[in-house]
Amino acid sequence: MENELLNAVLPLLPRAEDGGGFHAPTLDEFFPPAILFEGTPFEINRIIMVRLIAVALLILLLWIGTRRMRVVPGRGQSVVELLFGFVRTNIGEEILGRKDGRRFLPLLTTIFFLVLVTNITGVIPLLNIAGSSIIGLPLVLALVAYVTFIYAGIKDRGGAFFKTALFPPGVPKPLYLLLTPIELLSTFILRPISLMLRLLMNMVVGHLLLVLCFAATDFFLFNASVDGGLRLFSVGTFAFGIFFTLFEILVAVLQAYIFTLLTAVYIQLAVAEEH
């Protein structure tokens, strides 16, 4: 299966050759066969399973972590508080201020942790694919962010929200002909799409890169058609695999941070009196 998207994001990706020894990763990676409830709206495939496991583990860990909280924290509690505190302070309060930060904290915390754990499964052995690498989760989260910032804008400022969003004050009237369509497009259409695609594509490409590196390592090391000297390539591809694994950990955390941060920024822009 070849397509323009894959070629665009991975120009160096070798084509799959029928009958050849090397099988390059394709987008079929993201359409695994169903495991349960095939054909129903509750179908579960490998990626959905990974997603559910990740969220179940997250809830379990945080449940244990917050079950018996002490005023004087132990080691485990300090880590849990650090994570919660990061969202509360560095995203919520820093962008939205104390009051709104507290108001939207459950949402921001949910988005951050959900994106983080579903991203990080991409580098966890046996799971090996990001739970956020199929479009449903990025789509739902982007939609949540979209609905939330519009809700926050309307709730706090009513019609003035749309007015300042579409007709930014301090601009000569004729310019609105140009400006308003742009603002409409950027605020109400491109924001959720960019949120969604940024996360999805990071995870898709990251997964493909890792598969490519480790598939190549496997190919060079074990395929019968490879000559002796060429087997040394496996060392290089494996090193790349390790590098990209570390890189993917960074990307997983970064994307969770960016998604949450942008959601907070959009809310802040919606509730702010003046831009």
């Binding site: 129903t40 179908e43 997603r51 969220v55 909280m69 005023v71 849990v80 919660f84 459950p106 449903g136």
Partner: protein
């Protein structure tokens, strides 16, 4: 040309796009999202907030307590300083009193000693005077008889007439005394 949104395969068998969500994908994404939102909203975040509130209350309480303790310590210090000052003043007063008492006692003793000395010297004076009187009286008698004896011897007659003899002696002695006084 394929666009991102359009189904991307030319193989028409099953059209799949990573940008077209499957219904089950949306379902499970929503499930995990709302599950997690409920977990954070109803369980985790209230607990975290509670412990943070407790901690800040504890810290505030601690600060308050420390301030209170400090204030109490300051009051106690004031009290002790005052007591110390009072004690010092008291000690100084007692010392002063003792010094005065000592002076008084010394003065008293001195007075007493002087009185005693005066008394002793007066007694001694009186005694001396008495003894002198006695000596003078006895001497007078002795000298009288001696002189008469001597005179008798010189004159060769007995001055048996006592009245004349006594008058003589008295006159003599009076002369003697007078000359003595004049000699002084």
């Amino acid at each position: 040309m394929f666009t991102l949104i359009a189904p991307m395969a030319t193989e028409a068998a099953e059209e799949k796009s990573i940008l077209l969500p499957a219904p089950y994908d949306i379902v499970w994404s929503s499930v995990v999202f709302f599950l997690l939102l409920a977990f954070f909203f109803f369980y985790a975040l209230p607990r975290v907030r509670k412990v943070l509130d407790e901690r800040s209350a504890l810290i505030e309480g601690g600060i308050e307590k420390a301030e209170q303790a400090q204030a109490e310590a300051a009051v106690a210090l004031d009290k002790y300083t005052q007591q110390l000052a009072e004690a010092r003043a008291e000690a100084a007063r007692i010392r002063e009193q003792a010094r005065e008492d000592g002076k008084k006692i010394i003065a008293e003793f001195r007075e007493q000693a002087q009185a005693e000395a005066a008394r002793i010297s007066a007694t001694a004076q009186a005694q001396i005077e008495a003894e002198r009187q006695a000596a003078v009286t006895s001497l007078r008698a002795e000298v009288g008889s001696l002189a008469i004896d001597l005179a008798s011897g010189v004159v060769g007659e007995t001055l048996s007439d006592d009245a004349r003899a006594t008058a003589l002696v008295d006159r003599f002695l009076a002369d003697l005394e007078a000359s003595e006084k004049a000699g002084k």
